[in-house]
């Protein structure tokens, strides 16, 4: 029976889970991007078509969805900068774990700020 490999630096640790998170957020963002170009393209159909479709986004469920999407984007952005540091900075590989915790800390700070601003605007009634 296979046993869990002992002493691995990578599997099941920060390096692996950040890689998993980077893939999942990347795919989510890519599929959103396809839809986002299509909905924006409605400006070429008619002003009313565009404004009508954008109007359906302006509800509480979509506001939460947008917050989730931005959470994915901000993680992918910060972790992507960490990957660049791992690849190009001499000490990048040595400090990859510390950099991941920095990424997560910054992600929390940015998302708290974004959520307060966006949700108060989006849910604040107009």
């Amino acid at each position: 029976m296979p046993t869990k490999p002992a002493g691995t630096l990578y599997r099941g640790r920060e390096g692996m889970w950040s890689w998993v998170g980077h893939r999942i957020t990347g795919v989510v963002i890519f599929f959103f991007l396809l839809v986002h170009v299509l909905d924006t393209s409605l400006v070429r159909v008619s002003p009313e078509a565009y404004t009508a479709v954008i109007g359906t986004y302006k509800n509480p469920l979509m506001a939460l969805g947008e917050t989730g999407l931005v959470a994915a984007i901000v993680f992918h952005a910060f972790n992507g900068l960490r990957i660049i540091a791992v690849d190009f900075w001499k000490k990048g590989a040595k400090y990859q774990r510390q950099m991941l915790w920095t990424v997560l800390g910054l992600w929390v700070v940015v998302m708290v700020g974004f959520s307060i601003r966006h949700l108060s605007l989006a849910l604040g009634g107009h």
Binding site: G26, V37, V43, P47, I54, A77, H126
Partner: protein, 154 residues
């Protein structure tokens, strides 16, 4: 007989050990480099996009046809959105290509998934580019201005 082993990084690698031989050239290395370069630029472009469209002023409530018209009246935002479209689509397509290569084991499955991927990418990039450059803030159908347009006063 002794074999001569060149020192590492001398660049003198026997052809059979070269990673970049064959018809693919340096494609994978260039793709790897593109992900990093486009990634840095995309962080700036997308954070700017989110700030201007969601966080400033009324946020999402301000977004309608007139909002888009106002932005694309300025070549700065046309170029911004064009760069974002191309870089994000190519970055995302290369990412999904990597994932397909990793998880689709059958040759035929990989081939078809990538055909679908590249077709979708081409359609979205061409469509988005045309929309940015052929956008008309004051669309007219059959000689009548469409409601909601951003038309100059007659």
């Amino acid at each position: 007989m002794t074999a001569t082993i060149q020192s590492p990084r001398s660049g003198k690698i026997q052809p059979k050990y070269r990673r970049t031989g064959g018809s693919r050239g340096n494609f994978e290395m260039l793709a790897w480099l593109f992900m990093r370069l486009s990634g840095v630029v995309l962080v700036v472009l997308i954070f700017g996009h989110l700030t201007v469209n969601l966080l400033v002023g009324e946020g999402i409530h301000a977004i309608n046809f007139g909002f888009v018209a106002g932005k694309w009246a300025d070549p700065f935002w046309q170029f911004w959105d064009l760069a974002m479209l191309w870089l994000a689509m190519l970055h995302g397509t290369n990412g999904v290509r990597t994932i397909i290569n990793d998880y689709a084991e059958k040759d035929a499955t990989r081939l078809w998934l990538k055909i679908v991927l590249y077709a979708a990418t081409t359609v979205i990039i061409v469509l988005g580019t045309l929309v940015i450059f052929t956008f008309n803030p004051c669309p007219v159908a059959n000689g009548v201005q469409l409601p909601g347009g951003f038309c100059p006063a007659p």
